[in-house]
């Protein structure tokens, strides 16, 4: 095994967080970035058929166990957060529509989203506040994090299942107010005034 590949292998084994090629090059005493990238690919190829794989998620590399061994390694203890249906839906909406405001999430789901649902996802480190939309009311907008991609084994957002097809079908277009279901005559008030109903918990 080449010295640089060995060093990359050791560094990524020891690292507590995924690292990109630049950080690795710095760590390895200012190695050339392209050499590091070539080395990463060599190590990745070397591990392709092993019990451990070298994977890259949006430019950041880490080792993880091979997915086909999940049945052997799956642990009884709760390592993975159990998400409510509401939380999984909100997560999917943020991932496929990002950046997206809470009102837009609610427009897609047709129900109010409790703040707790967003909190649970932020606490898990999967979504983050990505600023404010330059629109009336300047609503907070949300986006996913690198940890989200890591956790779900996605190389990038383009890797989200079916995202290209959904986009082509226009199902990921921004929801315009005009598209909202118009209220039936006389019903607008009660619709606006019933925020307390069906506030689903995010647990």
């Amino acid at each position: 095994m080449e010295p640089l590949a060995r060093a990359i292998e050791a560094a990524l084994f020891a690292a507590e967080e995924p690292m990109d090629a630049g950080a690795l090059a710095d760590l390895l005493g200012g190695a050339d970035r392209r050499d590091v990238e070539a080395g990463l690919c060599a190590v990745q190829a070397d591990y392709a058929n092993r019990g451990v794989h070298l994977v890259v998620r949006e430019g950041r590399w880490h080792f993880e166990t091979a997915p086909d061994l999940a049945h052997l390694l799956r642990r009884e203890r709760e390592q993975v957060r159990r998400l409510s249906r509401a939380a999984t839906e909100v997560l999917a909406i943020v991932a496929y529509h990002e950046p997206v405001s809470r009102a837009e999430i609610e427009a897609i789901r047709g129900v109010q989203t409790s703040g707790g649902t967003l909190d649970v996802l932020m606490e898990a480190g999967w979504i983050r506040i990505a600023g404010r939309r330059e629109a009336p009311g300047r609503p907070t907008i949300y986006a996913t994090t690198p940890e989200f991609l890591d956790h779900f084994g996605l190389a990038s957002r383009k890797d989200l299942p079916g995202i290209a097809e959904l986009k082509a079908a226009g199902l990921l277009d921004r929801i315009e107010d005009a598209e909202e279901l118009p209220d039936p005559p006389g019903a607008s008030e009660s619709r606006g005034e019933a925020p307390q109903h069906r506030d689903e918990a995010g647990n």
């Binding site: 020891a14 690292a15 999917a92 129900v111 996605l154 959904l166 598209e179 279901l181 209220d183 039936p184």
Partner: protein, 267 residues
């Protein structure tokens, strides 16, 4: 509720659109209410009904969907169930949509009923897409469940160590600075040119001895003295003049206030 399931458990068991909900109601109304509670709002219920048409969401019959929904709501009302307001709002809107769809096209208002139906369909498709996406996402190989990171990574430590630098001159200079700063303070009063009272007495009495007439006090001062010495000599000579007058050796005269002070020997 299953983590990955597309639908709430009770929805999966529903065979027919009404019996599914009515089944628990045979026991009591509270259970029925809970069953209805399995849907997250009217859009969720509509989506579930639409899926039961077992066709692509884009091909569903909106009229049939509206009828199904309205039947649910009617039955729930007949059972005196407490329905959340938004279910009733949706029912009212769907009833309106249905009547508009049944009207001849030319009598419809803007936007047309067909367009409203299309929007409803798009909303259902969008929610359906996200629900499927969520399920596919949750089914992926997830870290900590299906794949695992290194259990005990050694960690990469980058410790920053400061190496301090200084030199001999800086050291010695610093000590000089400290000592200079804290050296005991000595007050030195610089010598100033003065004429003492004694020398003024000698000078004035000597000059008076040779003078014939009244002399101004300033004429007794050293002629080319610097201003500081002159001030001192003026003060001393004035005191000397007073002293000579007291001893009866001289007399003083001043013709006006602040006028020249005149001095003459007492014969």
């Amino acid at each position: 509720m299953s983590e990955t399931g597309l639908f709430p458990a009770q929805a999966d068991t529903v065979e027919d659109d009404w019996e599914g909900i009515a089944a628990p109601a045979r026991q009591d109304d509270a259970a029925l209410y809970l069953a209805l509670d399995g849907w997250e709002g009217p859009l969720d219920l509509l989506l579930d009904l639409a899926r039961r048409q077992k066709v692509d969401l884009r091909a569903i019959s909106i009229l049939a969907l509206v009828d199904q929904y309205l039947r649910y709501i009617e039955r729930a009302e007949a059972l005196k169930l407490e329905l959340a307001a938004d279910y009733l709002v949706m029912a009212a809107w769907l009833a309106y949509l249905k009547s508009a769809l049944l009207l001849p096209r030319e009598e419809q208002e803007e936007p047309s009923a067909e367009e409203l139906a299309l929007r409803l369909q798009i909303r259902l498709a969008r929610l359906g897409a996200m629900r499927e996406a969520a399920a596919r996402l949750m089914a992926r190989d997830r870290i900590g469940r299906d794949v695992f990171l290194r259990g005990a990574p050694e960690g990469l430590a980058i410790a920053t160590r400061t190496r301090w630098r200084s030199d001999q001159f800086a050291l010695i200079e610093a000590y000089g600075r400290v000592r200079a700063r804290t050296a005991p303070v000595v007050h030195m009063v610089r010598e100033r040119p003065v004429m003492t009272l004694d020398s003024a007495l000698n000078r004035v009495s000597a000059m008076l001895g040779v003078a014939l007439d009244w002399m101004e006090l300033v004429e007794f001062l050293p002629p080319h003295a610097d201003p500081q010495l002159r001030r001192s000599a003026l003060a001393s000579s004035f005191v000397a003049a007073l002293e000579l007058a007291r001893l009866g050796k001289a007399e003083l005269a001043q013709e006006s206030v602040f006028g020249p002070l005149l001095l003459r020997r007492v014969a």
